[in-house]
Subunit: 160 residues, 2 copies
Amino acid sequence: MALHAAAKQTETDPTEVVPDLETLIGYNMKRAYVAIQKDFRAALGEGGLSPRTFSALSLVVAHPDISQSSLARMLGIERSGLVAIIDELEHRKLLTRSVMPGDRRIQALMATPDGRVVYHDTLATVQAHEDRLLADLTAAEKETLMQLLKKIRLTDREST
Amino acid sequence: MALHAAAKQTETDPTEVVPDLETLIGYNMKRAYVAIQKDFRAALGEGGLSPRTFSALSLVVAHPDISQSSLARMLGIERSGLVAIIDELEHRKLLTRSVMPGDRRIQALMATPDGRVVYHDTLATVQAHEDRLLADLTAAEKETLMQLLKKIRLTDREST
DNA sequence: CGCATATTGTTAACTAGGTAAACAGTTTTG
DNA sequence: CAAAACTGTTTACCTAGTTAACAATATGCG
């Protein structure tokens, strides 16, 4: 625990010897996350999908006939919170709910052809904006960042 | 309709032919950010400071006699949103508001001795938990991650 | 000086994105 | 069959912000 070293007198000394926020991964992660999310919304404009709605659509495209409960688990949110998201996607005619034959509790989710098109277009748009936002990073740096982020995500033992 | 076969393919195929969420920095950033934030709250327990309250306290410790407006700008939030945060810190007796001589509009913020102690203790606690959460990363990887995150943050041209 | 304009802290109303609890319909299990 | 569990849903609530308005105060300028 050499980390908690110099706690110097900060009363009138503005020279910032104090260990501060900037040394925390969490703080820098939040700043970066906010910047990227802002970019995402700017990329999709006024009537565009929100990040969470896009994530949901993406998973429905990748997993046809998925149930809302499974989808909620994948997204890491409660299934009650997913209802509004699916309502929105259904209203935009990007997916359909249909009763699962064999288990009438389940509403199987399926992306419409429109939904698949919107998904691919949106993904391309977001990727283009991310590339612009991250223009200061080399391809190798982006790859490194991606792998480090995935490593952190894996250490989150709660999210099934 | 003709895509039935293709749809069925992705159903059980984990090889991910479809470009997906995982290729987006933003998605992986969010997952990592959520994991770290959860860890932060767990580290500080039930009655602990929230991330934003800790950030505010940190900046007040580093910048004695700062005004609420300047602090809000540093935090990247509206000054109206800062009022509740400062209220909480004042109630916990971790800082004081005092009228700035020379400009009676300004409430100069100053951390109390208690506030400085709580700040340093909290920082140490959070750092320890981050170290545990990020145990899979080497020191070099953590340093790299930090620098890449700061690079992204810098590209956020709006926050002034 | 006087007056328009700007700034500060604050409140109020609103939004986004969730959680937790309860519920009816529908399996599943003992 | 009865009890337990699961699914989608509604309802009430929470957190962390935003925007708009406001009074008090400060500043620029003719």
